[in-house]
Amino acid sequence: MNNRYKNIVKTAAFAAILILLLLSLSWVFAPSYWYPQKRLQDGNCRIAELSLEKENTIDILNLGDSESVAGFSPIDLWKEYGFTSFNCGADALRMGEAYYVVKLALENQKPKVILMETNMFFRFHLIEEFETDVAQFVYYYFRGLRYHNLWKQPFELEGVKTYYKGYLVNQRITPYEGPENYMDQVLHWTMRTDVPSKTRYEFSQLKKLCEENGIRLILYSIPSSFNYNHPRCDTLAALAQENGLTYLDLNSEPSIVIDWQQDTSDGGDHINLYGARKVSHFFGEYLKENCLAEDHRGDSYYAEWDALVQPFEQLVEEMKGKYFGDIEQERNEALKREKEEKK
């Protein structure tokens, strides 16, 4: 064998061993091994927790970027309607990433409905898109890399549960001070009003995935004075129509009255728990009216859900006016003090 072929064989062998090593990381960093004592301290926590949900118990997935993460409370939806849902969005989520989130969710769940918040339709930066695409592709096939931060778990303090079915309790209030009819606003020039073709393509793939699995996909725009105006919502309405999907613009929905002095945590960009409860209530009514979800209250298979209501309410009571990070910090400090005192 001449040198050139020797080198090719060597390189292939090196790559093959590397792939095996990376695959073996999936065994080491499996959420089921590390959870549920301490939660993952990064943006993968929702996907990790979703993978540990009891099989086929989630009927509704809420998907989107930070707007949806902040604006949908599954425990409230359960308490009021008995619907099981999971908030599986992530901060700054992109459409390509959302596709993999759904693929992962389908491994142990058969959701009937996906509520997709639309702000991510307008997020586009070519290089960042590429970075995300590569990362998500690699993370999907090499799970250990997605959860690589689990190595930190043995060193973490006992976690404070502020995630409830993917929803982070946030009661901080920072009123919105802008004009009342923000839907008439002209958004900053950097905020596009068209949907990039790459995003459209990725969305079509996601829609196909939903169709193949019998999932009803519903698009919605959450109330956000920072992100929405009429041109954006018109684009989304047209896109939904093209795809034969339902589009709900909650900014113009008369049955949701957002109090912008009370229901936003950061001056109109994201809604807080008070706003999220209104949105969750709206979806409860909508899903009930359209018979899209089933009331599981009283079913012993879903007993865990009832058990979560009380601690959730207690947490809400404890952290009135606060952001989830505040209470995590307080609890962590208290735990540290306790440890030191024990020493």
Partner: protein, 529 residues
């Protein structure tokens, strides 16, 4: 497309390598040039035109200077006597000098305009406000990434052509490649034409030796950046952004951790740069040589950002040292005040512009000017005290080679470095002074563990990763300092050991690296200069 991104490492670089290999050798430099401009376009868009313009301008200035030389030689050959020859030579030399001055002034003028105009305008306006004078407009100027690096390379090239150290490059495209070679355009190292040009143009076929060396070097850079630097950025960001909330030991922590972060980030990205070049068989100049082993501030600067130091030494320090005013001063002062004072004055005259330029090179802010002056003062004191050091050692019976004495000197150098970096990264000069003052307020070591340590997203495990990463880097540096190059040893070791080392490095980066959801990739600090 930064050099630490997936796009660069997993797509761009492999693609360029494949194209480079399949193209005939004589055209390979063209692939490198295209890749360089594509890469530059990804982060500077239309400002790539400025880079092209700089290459064209530099090319014609160098050709002009060479043409003047040719004309001078022709006319000298035709001249009848020596006097006439000398006259011709002088005349052409003056013209050549004028052309060089034009080239340097235009290149510096562009750099000044994009990097310093607003700084000077703001400060002049502040002054003018006192005299009710008209204000200069503040302009919205786009910053071309890497301009400080390629401008210095262009000036260095022109100076070398002027001094006839190198012939002018006749091919515009090849010169353009030297000025824009894609791995180094963002963060350097600042190469001399004679160091890299031939390697860039040679189009050497890829070989396993270079590929292994480059791959290993890139991994090493990622290790430093992703395990240590990107994590520390969270802590230093908190301490420097909210500097008023911290005092005493926390300020010391800010200075030390920022210095480590900067070293890991800058040297790490230079490892990626040098590794990328090596894949193509191009050996770029080194930029770091265990700077924390330095026993003096002067030695530190011979080990830290070496390519910048070398550039200033070659193109500013030496020319100033042999300039007419310094020579005149030497003659005058030696007669009147003696050797020592003459040496002090000459040192001050040569060091001052170098350190002001070093400060300003980092950016248009008063803190950078202060940073330059800080090192000027320290180095000048070092020069002034040099003759007394031997006497001190004799009187106090100090063996300058004793380990304890070396350790003390290293420790002193660390203090100088940490203080410098405190001002360097402060949010303005005033903030730097406030932080420095607060360093001496309520200094309690116990603040490190009594709950005063800032709450950031870093947890115990992150600090362990940082400490582990630093220890590994320190061991490698320590061995290198003692002439044991671990990287070379791995490269020349048997296949199983070599692969084991590579796998260990890759897994360390993938497991302990700061990446993925919740992490924001940290921009390269020197890419902004």
């Amino acid at each position: 497309m930064a050099i630490y991104t997936n796009l660069y490492l997993l797509v761009f670089l492999p693609l360029v390598l494949i194209l480079y290999q399949i193209i005939p050798q004589k055209h390979r430099w063209k692939i490198l040039l295209c890749a360089s401009y594509i890469m530059y376009f990804t982060f500077s868009k239309k400002l790539v035109l400025l880079l092209i313009g700089t290459a064209v301008f530099t090319h014609y200035i160098s050709i002009w200077m060479e043409w003047i030389d040719i004309r001078s030689k022709q006319e000298q050959a035709e001249a009848s006597d020596r006097k006439q020859k000398t006259e011709i030579k002088k005349g052409y030399q003056a013209r050549k000098k004028g052309v060089l001055a034009l080239g340097v002034l235009v290149l510096l003028g562009i750099l000044f305009y994009v990097q310093y105009y607003n700084f000077f305008a703001e400060n002049i306006n502040k002054l003018a406000a006192h005299f009710s004078a008209a204000a200069l407009p503040i302009l919205d100027i786009a910053f071309p990434m890497g301009i400080s690096f390629y401008t210095l390379e262009a000036i260095g090239y022109l100076a070398d052509v002027y001094w006839n150290r190198i012939p002018a490059e006749k091919h515009l495209g090849k010169l353009a490649l030297f000025l824009s070679f894609f791995p180094q355009i963002m963060e350097g190292p600042i190469a001399r034409y004679s160091d890299t040009a031939d390697q860039l143009y040679e189009g050497k076929p890829l070989n396993m030796g270079d590929l292994n060396a480059g791959f290993e070097r890139i991994l090493w850079g990622l290790f430093k950046k992703m395990i240590v630097s990107d994590r520390l950025a969270t802590l230093t960001g908190e301490l420097f952004n909210n500097y008023k909330d911290y005092h005493g030991v926390m300020i010391a922590v800010a200075a030390v951790t920022y210095t480590i972060q900067l070293y890991m980030e800058f040297s790490g990205s230079i490892d990626i740069v040098i590794g990328s070049g090596r894949l193509f068989g191009v050996k770029l100049p080194e930029n770091f040589n265990q700077p924390f082993s330095a026993q003096s501030a002067a030695e530190f600067w011979r080990r830290w950002h070496m390519s910048l130091g070398t550039w200033f030494k070659n193109y500013l320090f030496y020319p100033v040292t042999v300039s007419a005013p310094v020579k005149k001063w030497n003659r005058y002062a030696r007669k009147r005040y003696g050797k020592y004072v003459s040496m002090l004055g000459a040192s001050a005259m040569a060091l001052f512009p170098v350190w002001i330029a070093t400060g300003l090179w980092h950016g248009a802010e008063w803190k950078y000017i202060f940073y330059g002056l800080y090192y000027f003062v320290i180095l000048f004191i070092g020069v002034a005290l040099e003759p007394f050091k031997e006497k001190r050692n004799q009187v106090l019976h100090i063996d300058p080679n004793a380990p304890w004495f070396k350790a003390l000197r290293i420790l002193k150098t660390w203090l100088i470095i940490f203080t410098g970096e405190l001002f360097f990264n402060a949010r303005g000069l005033k903030a730097g002074f406030i932080m420095f003052r607060n360093l001496f307020v309520d200094f309690h070591i116990s603040d490190l563990w009594n709950g005063s340590f800032p709450e950031t997203s870093l947890h115990t495990a992150d600090y362990l990763a940082i400490a582990g990463g630093c220890i590994v880097v320190w061991i490698v540096g320590f061995l290198r300092e003692h002439k044991v190059d671990l990287r070379e040893k791995i490269l020349s070791s048997r296949l199983p050991l070599k692969w084991a080392a590579y796998y260990a490095l890759i897994l360390a980066i993938l497991i302990f690296g700061a990446y993925g959801a919740g992490y924001q990739a940290v921009d390269l600090i020197y890419a902004g200069f």
